[in-house]
Amino acid sequence: MVEPLFCTIEHLSASVHKNFVLNIPNLDIPKNKFITILGENGAGKTTLLRAILGQIPKLGLIFFPGLGEIEKISAHDRAKIMSFLPAHDHCAFNFSIAEFLELGFPQGVYLGSEEKKQRIERVARELNIPYEALHKPIYSLSSGERKKIFLGRVMIGDADAFLLDEPYSYLDPFNTQELIEHLKKLVAGGKTILCVSHDLRAAYRHSDYVIGIKNGEVHGYGTAKNYLSPEVIKELFGIVAEIVVDHRGQNLLILNI
């Protein structure tokens, strides 16, 4: 890859549990792209995200151009580069939606209250959270609505990259589609999206790059159309897939489940 890089991973060996290690000899993650990380359960996708975030002990280097190795970057700067959505997000107290979104501003961001309010309203609009709902307590929301405010929390701080662990879970097809469109817009606006997902069809159709992870190692990576062939899907997940061309001439990934 010759594009500008978001980060470079060298000789990485990271683990969250004693009996699992993620080993990556070398991996470049491009900047300003929509990248999907695919792999079966327990393959090490979340471990990769957490290693990039600098949240777990590791050997090896994760190097951010212009900033240096992740461990040398201050927590404050890390929050400016990337914003993280865990797979199971939660909140200990019953904030209102607006209050909750406000929590997403990273430390050291000093915006006026009017500016903050505008940002909150803008993000809510982008994620189809109705304005009237902003004062609603978050514990009254359904799982899907909850997912949207968690995504909003991630996006409110305006980081360079969004690391999303299963952003589409709990969302209905319409909201998934809207979210993907919004993520693509963000990429067009200069952001980097690095998302862990099990939605193969969306990964094939919408992401720029795909990274396949299997048994704690990188199986392969490349542009979605090049890398994500039926053979690769068979190797990654053990399922049968086909690529067909629809009447508009678009390639679609079909799963024969």
Binding site: R50, L53, Q55, A75, H76, D77, R78, A79, K80, M82, S83, F84, P86, D89, H90, C91, A92, F93, N94, F95, S96, E99, L103, G104, F105, P106, Q107, G108, H135, P137, Y139, S140, R153, G157
Partner: protein, 344 residues
């Protein structure tokens, strides 16, 4: 206000109502049952002693030397306990946590009884806050030893380990109280401290705590933004640029200081740190910047009310604060546990 919602009361109104209530409660607490307060000289004699020949009446002495220290002690203790409760719930990201539920009060109680056993506490009450602080710290540290490294803790684990710690320290305190304190007078003093009592505190000591509690309040409020973010969980708060470990340690130290303040003035008053933050949160929401101060005010009001009840139900006998709060607090705790069976 429904089960999941909350009153939409603006913080401004809430604080006005609280201030009014507080003024009323203070007035009733200091003046209730005193005769002669309707005369205009009653206060001017006390506060502006113009003629040295004029002697104060017994009622005036009671007001000056007993009621005022008692009211201030209750005010500060209620304030400190409630803020400690808010911080506890924030640190453990759990609205069932509170100093008494987690065994922090018991730890302090055990240390104070130990101090009585070794005759460490003199009449000046000077050592009490230090001993209480060490006790609170020791039980909070033993609790943190289990949890700090593990990030989010399940409610069950937290409450059970807190319960176990509380039981150990309570057993130690009972042992000391029953068998080891040398003089019966000291034992009586220690027992009334264990049950929560603000009746015999000298005025200079009580007033000395005022600046301390104000400093602690400012410190607590300065952490409010970080504590809001902490409720998203450790990993997310970290990814937002917050330094979690240092924050936790500072907050734990602050909780111990607040507890020590409350304990020195009022003895052990269980459950106040659990109940008050809940009430405050249901009115003005969980954002800590308002919540901390609101809880402090509500705590003062509640503690003074409880003291008022305790001393007027069956005079001249007094019902201790700890007894009253246990009767209110334990059922409230059960209610919270049942209510908390939610999917979040």
């Amino acid at each position: 206000m429904n089960r999941q919602g909350r009153c939409t009361l603006s913080p401004g109104y809430f604080f006005i109502v609280c201030t009014l209530l507080l003024v009323i409660v203070i007035a009733v607490h200091t003046l209730w049952g005193l005769e002669g307060i309707s005369q205009t000289e009653f206060f001017s004699d006390i506060f502006m002693p113009g003629s040295p020949t004029k002697h104060l009446s017994i009622e005036q002495f009671i007001f000056k030397d007993i009621r005022i220290p008692r009211t201030i002690a209750g005010l500060i203790a209620g304030f400190a306990f409630s803020i400690a409760g808010v911080l506890c719930q924030g640190v453990f990201q759990n609205d069932l946590a509170s100093p008494s539920v987690l065994g922090i009060s018991s730890g302090a109680a055990f240390f104070v009884i130990l101090a009585y056993v070794f005759n460490f506490i003199s009449r000046s009450w000077f050592f009490l806050p230090f001993v209480a602080f060490l006790g609170a710290l020791s039980s909070l540290l033993s609790l943190s030893y289990f949890f700090l490294s593990r990030g989010r803790v399940s409610m069950k684990e937290l409450l059970l380990v807190g319960f176990a710690i509380s039981t150990i320290f309570s057993a130690g305190a009972s042992l000391g109280l029953r068998h080891l304190i040398p003089s019966p007078i000291k034992a009586g003093e220690a027992l009334s401290w264990l049950l929560g009592d603000i009746s015999i505190r000298p005025l200079p000591m009580v007033v000395a705590y005022l600046p301390i509690v104000i400093l602690l309040l400012i410190a607590a409020i300065s952490f409010s933004r970080s504590m809001d973010t902490l409720s998203l969980g450790d990993d997310v708060a970290q990814s937002l640029g917050f330094e979690i470990k240092g924050l936790r340690i500072k907050l734990i130290a602050l909780i111990c200081l607040l507890e020590a303040t409350g304990l020195s003035l009022a003895g052990v008053v269980p459950f106040i740190g659990l109940i008050v933050p809940h009430i405050a949160r249901s009115f003005i929401g969980p954002k800590h910047r308002n919540l901390i101060f609101a809880s402090g005010m509500l705590g003062s009001i509640l503690l003074l009310c409880a003291d008022l009840v305790g001393r007027t139900v069956n005079p001249p006998q007094q019902i201790e604060l700890g007894v009253i709060f246990s009767f209110i607090g334990a059922p409230f705790f059960i209610y919270l546990v049942l209510r908390n069976r939610r999917t979040w």
